[in-house]
């Protein structure tokens, strides 16, 4: 990517956001930006401030388009062509930071949850529809329809282009964070060791944008820290044979410590506010795991306590499973198994983590035959490749010991 193209991509979120708020039309904002970007690339001498140049050029495009739409085609033809790009002011005009508004619009709870991140990736990050479709494992046509429908709803249902009133933030911000969390989890699971962390990478960018824009919202900081900590371990999640490596066995030298430090700073900042929440607790759990790089051991007693707190805020099967695993490190495998027994595998929407956890604890307890059948159950439940290899390797290790 050329230097100019890179600067254009960087300027995109702010410029498109400002344009969208200016003309109150997502499509028009995107089109005008694309038009301005193409003209910018044609310039012999690249403008000094690319963002300001793009904003001015795109605004003109918006005005032209609206004029063209409104007036008679004949009367307008001439006027539209008088716009010379050379006329564009060289004086940079300040661009108001409207990214937050655009995120609130794209992640509005009135939009279907599966459309929200797709819309955000398209409008804010400028990802092509084909790319977004690939990230969400769906066809380009389906994704195109989903995004088009979402844009139409924003326009026709009158979703506000204003920042919501502060009192409405709790619900709206929750929707934004949940949207990012779900998309991130989807990306992270799909990555499942197959080194396709692109969706999680793009979503992480959005999560960090939200944290930067809302430094006084502890849960926004918590989510950004959580995402950053997961990304920091991206390179250690799979070994050279493509087999998943569990967190407790990862090579810490492959972790990204700059990202870890940033996450720690954000969590500290969040803690000052003394309004805890699930994202902060989840990030704290990950941070405790990461401390292994400094302490050479993991404090599972702390992790168990944090899972207790998380369970109180957001109970769910994954919390029970992870808590049982942590507890087993403190009080033994049998104790962890007891916790798992309380769950009903039949009722778990995704029972694979349950069987994988059971297999691990049964192995530790020396109950090899039961461990093997738990592994079989987990393998049958269609794990991603890296996880399947990991489970299969565990299974052959069981028999090697016999």
């Amino acid at each position: 990517m050329s230097e100019v193209a890179y600067a254009i991509a960087n300027a995109r979120p702010r410029v498109v956001a400002a344009l969208a708020v200016h003309c109150r039309d997502l499509d028009l904002a995107e089109d005008a930006f694309a038009d301005a970007a193409a003209k910018c690339l044609e310039q012999v001498d690249p403008p000094r401030s690319i963002a300001a140049w793009l904003m001015t050029a795109a605004k003109r495009k918006v005005v032209d388009t609206i004029r063209r739409q409104r007036a008679e085609a004949r009367a307008i033809e001439g006027a539209a062509q008088t716009t010379e790009m050379a006329d564009i002011l060289t004086l940079p005009e300040p661009i108001a930071d409207e990214r937050l508004r655009l995120i609130f619009i794209c992640c509005h709870p009135a939009l279907a949850i599966e459309a929200r991140v797709a819309l955000a990736l398209k409008v804010i990050c400028g990802l092509p529809v084909a790319e977004i479709a690939r990230l969400f494992l769906t066809s380009e046509q389906t994704m195109f329809q989903r995004i088009t429908r979402a844009k139409r709803k924003v326009r026709d249902a009158g979703i506000a282009f204003e920042l919501p009133a502060r009192k409405a933030w709790a619900e709206r911000l929750d929707a934004v964070l949940l949207t990012l969390e779900l998309a991130y989890t989807a990306g992270y699971q799909d990555a499942g060791g197959e080194r396709d962390g692109e969706l999680s990478g793009e979503v992480a960018r959005l999560a960090m944008m939200v944290a930067e824009l809302l430094p006084k919202e502890p849960e926004a900081l918590g989510l950004a820290a959580l995402v950053l900590l997961a990304n920091a371990r991206e390179n250690a999640r799979v070994d050279d044979d493509g087999v998943m490596v569990p967190l407790s066995q990862q090579d810490v030298t492959a972790w990204d410590f700059e990202a870890i430090e940033q996450a720690r700073l954000w969590l500290d900042l969040a803690a000052q506010d003394q309004r805890t929440g699930p994202y902060q607790v989840m990030a704290a759990i990950q941070l405790t795991h990461v401390r292994r790089a400094f302490d050479r051991q993991t404090d599972y007693a702390v992790i168990t306590t944090l899972y207790d707190a998380l369970f109180a805020m957001r109970p769910g099967p994954m919390v029970v499973i992870n808590r049982a695993m942590a507890l087993s490190k403190v009080q033994g495998a049998e104790r962890g198994l007891e916790e798992l027994e309380s769950m009903d595998a039949e009722q778990l929407k995704n029972a694979r983590p349950y069987y994988a956890a059971r297999a691990e604890l049964l192995t530790q307890a020396g109950r090899s035959a039961e461990a093997a059948s738990a592994l079989d159950m987990a393998i049958k439940l269609d794990p991603p490749r890296a996880e399947r290899l990991f489970l299969e390797r565990k299974k052959s290790a069981l028999f090697a010991e016999d």
Binding site: H108, A110, A157, G158, I159, A160, P164
Partner: protein, 118 residues
């Protein structure tokens, strides 16, 4: 923009020994909402419909009509009334729609009214 709020409620909620009290409480909720709407200065209208046993439906099959005794939708949650509120945006409309009392099961559908381009 005008938003129509269609109120669908399970009418069986208003059956039983304390039916009158339940209905009274819901109506009081509507009166309160109407007072708030009037005080807000927004243009609005709204009506309560009679029970679904009073409904007559003209059903069409390939353009041919036939009258039927009963409501259109065969669900437990019947259209019981509506409001139309002229709100600046969807969020404001939703904020008002949330104030519509639905003590039992039901749903309030919020839809913008079609605007003819000028």
């Amino acid at each position: 923009m005008q938003y129509m709020m269609l109120i669908h409620e399970d009418e069986t909620y208003y059956a039983g020994d304390d039916a009158a009290q339940k209905m009274e409480a819901t109506i009081a909720g509507h009166m309160k909402l109407i007072e708030e709407l009037s005080a807000s200065g927004l243009a609005w209208s709204g009506e309560r419909l009679q029970g679904n046993e009073t409904a007559t439906t003209i059903r069409y099959k390939a353009g041919e009509s036939a009258l039927h005794d009963g409501p259109y939708a065969e669900t437990h949650e019947e259209l019981g009334g509506f409001y139309i509120v002229d709100a600046p945006d969807l969020d404001t409309a939703i904020e008002w729609a949330r104030k519509i009392p639905v003590p039992g099961d039901g749903a309030v559908e919020v839809r913008p009214v079609w605007v003819e381009e000028q």
